[in-house]
Amino acid sequence: MSFPILSLLILTPLIGALTLSLSNSAQLKNKTIFASGLWIATGEFILSLLLPIFYDKAENGYQFTEFHTWFDKFDINYYLGVDGVSIPLILLTTFLVPICLLCSWNSIQNRVKEFVIYFLLLESFIIGVFVSIDLVIFYVFFEAVLIPMFLIIGIWGGENRLYATFKFFLYTLAGSVLMLLAIIYIISITNTGNIEIISKFIFDENIQLILFLCFFASFAVKVPMFPFHTWLPDAHVQAPTSGSVILAGVLLKLGAYGFMRLSIPFFEFASYYFQPLIFSLSCIAIVYTSIVALRQTDMKKMIAYSSVAHMGFVTIGIFTLTQDGMNGAYFQMISHGIVSAALFLIVGVVYERHHTRMISDYSGVTNIMPKYSFFFMVFMLSSVGLPGTSGFVGEFLVIMSTISVNVYLTIFTAVGVILGASYMLLLYKNVNFGDVKSDIKKLTDLTTIEIFYFTCLAFLTILLGIYPKLLFDMIDASISIGIL
């Protein structure tokens, strides 16, 4: 297909952001700016729906490819393409960005124009990561994502936002520059930045180990894996709701996507060699962060720690290096993208009304906000992994695939599931049940807009839970051929 749909996907939000930035802000009302941003983001979502429609599942390899020379001197090109692994993540991104804009409609009052611009830029850069099949352009987008996110947390965040946003930026950057060195080394050996060609190249085993660790540093911070996860709770707690949504929903997936797209195909030997390391770190992440989450008093922090635990399942699944494990991990990624985004929105709803995130400040919310409690329950159960919701499929597949690799792993992951259920149920119980506190009574139930986006998210969760084949059809072939 010669129609440059991928470039269009990158450029639409970019051009939207540029047009907005050139417009005269004094004359525009905040609502108009939000609405125009929303139109752009919705248009982008509709555009991205073309990808799964026209994607040919029977064909292997990258599709919708676009190739333009960037440098004559090096083989570094503007080379875009998608396969089954990238498309669902692109859809997730384009789906979440309009929701982010919708949920900030009332909560963001100052510097609205900048807010919309940074979100559109962020969307463009994230899509860029998922569609690039050249190492340098991949890195460029991977890094560029930091800039709008830095500004979003730094400008609209909570009271301790500067610390959080600096920590976020520097942690991620420190990981990424090591990857940059590895990328440069790879290009100097293979003389190309093309991911397809490098995947077929076999590196010397000792070199593989070092290069793998360099990539690992970058992706492990992004996922985040156990010792590198401390930036995440800070960033989540300080970020505005919309920032948390996009951070939990998509940015964390960049790391896992990097593992699947780059680390494993490039360094097969090293992937097997470091399997135990990654398994142990992930097990610690699952059990340890679940226990930490149990003791949290701040709702957002609890969900942030639960994110680390859930992403632990993803890394375990990916590094079982089996088809089932990968499928499960990927499913878990998408499911976590929807569910954790929804949970942050849930917290955002009460925070906007009551201006506190402390669990102890809430009690008996279900009597005052019945619709809210309903949606909270749907997402809580999905996060716990109740059969019939999307959370179940991913966790089930990952746990199943670990049996063939290592039984102890199964035990740890299963414990993680139980702990996950306990803290989520505890959170739900404390917030929704019990006596109605007097200052809770003034809260109002969900507005139409909120019901609208929660319905969309709940629908997707249940759809994927009941009919997971929808996603597996898309990714199966790409995972078995492209990655393993």
């Binding site: 004559d72 890195y139 730094g154 950057l173 940059l180 060195l181």
Partner: protein, 462 residues
């Protein structure tokens, strides 16, 4: 018989100086017109007739192109700088025609330095350049800090000139020659001499650990002079350093190579560690320039695997960024004079959107974060150094750029997140607005479409 034709650019500059001296007494503004026209003519001449200058010289074609390109860049930089300085000096009530003369003398010195083929000429060029710089540092005679900066710069600079002369005389003692081409095999005594020469040059480009003067001099001297120190003379000295590194095959001499690597590593680290705690804009920029010198030294050492292209790409991007940053800062004033502290940038986003966004571009470009040209500048250097096998230095370089990101981000934080305390008086001169918007555009454009520049540079150095 002396081939005067090959000095044509220098003689032309000297004529320009003589005209400026006479004319300046009568009409200060006329000197500016004369000099910009003169430099424009010089650029045209160098572009079209440059090669004929060095027909009879012993330089290789590569060196000739290197010299010509550097001179063209210096001339373009001088035009921009002369125009910028007029406005800035008038704001400070310092507009005297001598300043223009100092610029011309410094540029003349740089020209001589770049195209010298022996140590004596190089020394003359370097001294001519440095003496003008000392005067430019102390130009604000009523300000004690400026005087202090000038004296500090002069006394330390004189010491380094002493090193240089001593080194040169040791080389002469050993080889009985000043010319680069005749220095093939080194004995220990020439190595020591060369080490002294290198140290003097490191001092001039403010590589650590010979950098102590830099922050003080930048802070004390008028902002416009600090821009000059950071840009054109440094560029010329780096080009000269590059030339002697390769024409004397320093990479083959282990002891000197160690010095080079050590200085490179220390510059990378001192640059960033020094900058973290700084509260004064110019001191921060001084330390950040030390870090960039580290990168350029890395590029010089890994020359074999790339070409002059890497170094020129980095230097051009660096010059563009520095000019951009300073033209923003020169434009910002409060009722008490020009801003010096980083907190003075607070709330810049609210008072001037274009300045804040341009600064954002410059700082991210200096930090080497895509999507700005600074990323590729660093990318090329790192890929050259990895090819060369300088792994440790490459790792130090990237670690330093992570730390550097921290202080660039804090400047951005001041501009975007903080509320301003003092009312900023924006001095919207059209010229400097043009310069920083143009620089920001160039930095973005070169990222997406760097091929023309790279190909242009590469075509000069086969």
């Amino acid at each position: 018989m002396i081939d005067f034709y090959s000095f044509a650019p220098e003689i032309f500059l000297l004529t320009l100086i003589l005209i400026s001296i006479t004319l300046g007494v009568l009409n200060k503004d006329a000197t500016i017109t004369i000099n910009t026209t003169g430099f424009s003519l010089l650029i045209i001449f160098l572009i079209f007739k440059g090669h004929s200058l060095y027909q009879n010289s012993l330089f290789s074609l590569n060196t000739i192109n290197l010299i010509l390109l550097s001179k063209i860049i210096l001339s373009i930089g001088s035009i921009v700088f002369i125009l910028l300085s007029r406005r800035s000096l008038k704001n400070e009530n310092l507009f005297r025609y001598e300043y223009i003369l100092f610029i011309l003398f410094a540029i003349l010195g740089s020209f001589v330095l770049i195209s010298s083929d022996n140590f004596l000429t190089a020394f003359i060029g370097l001294e001519l350049q440095s003496l003008s710089l000392y005067l430019m540092a102390a130009f604000n005679t009523k300000n004690l800090n400026s005087n202090e900066a000038g004296i500090k710069y002069f006394s330390l600079g004189a010491l380094s000139s002493g090193f240089l002369l001593f080194g040169i005389s040791m080389i002469y003692f050993d080889t009985a020659s000043f010319t680069f081409q005749n220095l093939a095999n080194f004995s220990t005594i020439s190595e020591v001499g060369l080490a002294l020469v290198l140290i003097a040059l490191f001092f001039k480009v403010s590589a650590a650990p010979f950098h102590i003067w830099t922050p003080d001099v930048y802070e004390g001297s008028p902002t416009i002079s600090a821009l000059f120190f950071a840009s054109l003379p440094k560029f010329a000295s780096l080009i000269f350093l590059f030339r002697i590194y390769h024409e004397l095959n320093i990479s083959k001499i282990d002891s000197l190579n160690y010095i080079f690597q050590l200085v490179c590593a220390i510059s990378l680290l001192v640059g960033v560690y020094g900058a973290i705690t700084q509260k004064v804009i110019k001191r921060l920029l001084a330390f950040s320039s030390i870090n960039h010198i580290g990168f350029i030294l890395l590029a010089i050492m890994s020359y074999q695997y790339m070409s002059e292209g890497t170094i020129f790409f980095y230097l051009i991007i660096y010059l563009v960024t520095i000019f951009g940053v300073f033209s923003v800062i020169l434009n910002l004033r409060t009722s008490e004079g020009e801003i010096t502290l980083l907190t003075g940038l607070n709330g810049l986003k609210a008072s001037s959107r274009s300045k804040a966004i341009s600064m954002l571009v410059f700082l991210f470009s200096l930090a080497g974060i895509p999507p700005f040209a600074g990323f590729f500048a660093k990318f090329f250097i790192l890929s050259a150094s990895i090819n060369e096998g300088l792994y440790l230095l490459s790792v130090i370089a990237v670690i330093s750029s992570v730390i550097a990101a921290f202080y660039y981000l804090s400047v951005i934080k001041n501009m975007f997140f903080n509320e301003s305390e003092n009312e900023l008086l924006l001095d919207n001169s059209k010229l400097s607005s043009f310069i920083f918007i143009f620089s920001a555009l160039v930095l973005t454009l070169f990222f997406f479409y760097p091929d023309p520049l790279i190909n242009l540079i590469d075509s000069l150095f086969y």
